[in-house]
C-alpha cells in the first residue's frame, strides 16, 4: 500500500512538473519600458528585453533565454544599469541546465553562474573586490532558476483555473531555494504595446523572500492567448514600486 502510494505520488508530481512547452518559441523578442514610481509619477528608467534563441551543442538543442535591463542614455551618467540574466533550458520542459546572472548597477557588480547537475547545483559567484567562490548545493527536483520560471509561468493553463487558485514553483536565487506562488486573480484588459489592447490573465506573485513587498502587489498580466506574453509587470520592492510595460513584441 505504501509502495502504491509512493508510485502514485511520483506519477502525479511528474505529470504536474513535466509540463510541455507550447507558449514559448525560439526567436521571440519582447521589449519593455521599466518605470519607477517617484513621488507618485512613473518615471521611465530603463529598457528591458526578453529574448529567446535556439543554441546547439554536440548532443542537444537548447533554448537560450535572456533578460537584459539597460538604463536609458539620459540616466547612464547618474546611475548606469546593465543587468543580464540568462538561462539555457530544455526547449520542451524548460528545465534549466545553465543559469547566469551578470549585474552592473552603479558601482556594484556581481557575476553568478549555476550549473544544474541533476539535483545538485555547482555555483560560481564573483562580487566586486571579492575573490571568486564556488559551491555545490542540493536542490529539489522541480527547482528552476528565476528566468526559466518566468517562461514556465507562460505555460500554465490559467483558462482552467478559477480566481484565487494558485500554482507553486521552486526557484533558486542567491544560492537559496525558495517557494514562489502564482495566484490567478481573474482577467483584465491591458495595453500591450504593438499588440494593442489585450485581455490578460492577472497573476499575483508571492514569494517567501524580503525582496518582494506586500500582498498582491507584484502582478504579472499574461495575454489570454496561446503565447501568454507578459504585457504588464507591476512590482513592489523594499525601495519602492514600479512597472514594466510591453512596448514591442516580435517572433511570438
Amino acid at each position: 500500500m505504501r509502495k502504491l502510494f509512493m508510485i502514485a505520488a511520483v506519477l502525479i508530481s511528474s505529470i504536474t512538473s513535466a509540463q510541455t512547452n507550447k507558449a514559448v518559441k525560439s526567436g521571440e523578442k519582447l521589449t519593455y519600458a521599466a518605470s519607477y514610481n517617484m513621488s507618485g509619477l512613473m518615471t521611465p528608467l530603463a529598457q528591458v528585453t526578453m529574448q529567446t534563441q535556439t543554441v546547439k551543442t554536440s548532443k542537444n538543442t537548447l533554448l537560450h533565454l535572456s533578460c537584459n535591463a539597460t538604463t536609458y542614455t539620459k540616466w547612464d551618467t547618474f546611475f548606469k544599469i546593465r543587468d543580464n540574466y540568462e538561462s539555457y533550458v530544455n526547449p520542451t520542459t524548460l528545465k534549466p541546465s545553465l543559469y547566469k546572472r551578470d549585474i552592473l548597477e552603479g558601482t556594484y557588480t556581481k557575476k553568478e553562474k549555476y550549473l544544474f547537475k541533476g539535483n545538485t547545483i555547482q555555483s560560481t559567484l564573483k562580487r566586486k573586490n571579492m575573490p571568486e567562490t564556488t559551491k555545490a548545493f542540493q536542490i529539489s527536483g522541480s527547482a528552476s532558476d528565476v528566468v526559466a520560471t518566468i517562461y514556465q509561468l507562460r505555460n500554465v493553463d490559467f483558462s482552467k483555473m478559477s480566481p484565487g487558485q494558485t500554482k507553486s514553483f521552486v526557484v533558486v536565487f542567491d544560492e537559496k531555494e525558495m517557494g514562489v506562488t502564482a495566484k490567478y486573480m481573474g482577467k483584465e484588459t491591458v495595453k500591450a504595446g504593438n499588440l494593442g489592447s489585450k485581455t490578460c490573465y492577472k497573476i499575483s506573485i508571492g514569494a517567501k523572500t524580503n525582496k518582494l513587498k506586500g500582498t498582491d502587489k507584484n502582478i504579472i498580466y499574461l495575454t489570454a492567448d496561446n503565447a501568454r506574453v507578459p504585457a504588464l509587470i507591476q512590482f513592489s520592492i523594499p525601495v519602492g514600486t514600479g512597472q514594466l510595460t510591453l512596448t514591442n513584441a516580435s517572433g511570438i
Partner: protein
C-alpha cells in the same frame, strides 16, 4: 507676505533647475509649476514699481518649463554598447563549453 512668496518662488526655481538637469521626466513639472505659482503671486502682490525680482523669477521658471517639456517629449533611447555585445558573444562561447562539459558528465 510678498517676501515669503519671493523666497518660496526662488527655492522652487532652484529646485526646477536641478530637476531639469536630472533626467526626471515629467516629475520636473512639479517644482516648475510651484515656482510659477509663487512667482506669479509675488508679482501680483508687488507694487508696480517693485516687480523686477518676481518678473525675472517668472521668466526663468517659464524657460525651465519649456526645457522640461522638451526633455520629457524626447524619446527614451538606450546606448548601443559594442563592447558589451562583443562580451556577450564571448560569454556565449564559454557557456557552450560549460554545457558540453555538463553533457559529457550526464
Amino acid at each position: 507676505m510678498r517676501k515669503a512668496l519671493i523666497v518660496l518662488a526662488f527655492i522652487f526655481t532652484l529646485l526646477s533647475v536641478i530637476f531639469a538637469i536630472l533626467p526626471m521626466g515629467t516629475l520636473g513639472l512639479l517644482p516648475v509649476g510651484l515656482a510659477l505659482v509663487f512667482s506669479g503671486l509675488a508679482y501680483a502682490k508687488s507694487a508696480a514699481n517693485d516687480r523686477t525680482v518676481p518678473k525675472w523669477l517668472l521668466i526663468v521658471a517659464g524657460l525651465i518649463l519649456v526645457v522640461v517639456i522638451a526633455k520629457s517629449m524626447t524619446p527614451d533611447e538606450v546606448e548601443k554598447d559594442v563592447q558589451m555585445e562583443q562580451q556577450k558573444i564571448e560569454s556565449q562561447k564559454e557557456d557552450l563549453k560549460d554545457l558540453e562539459e555538463l553533457e559529457a558528465i550526464e
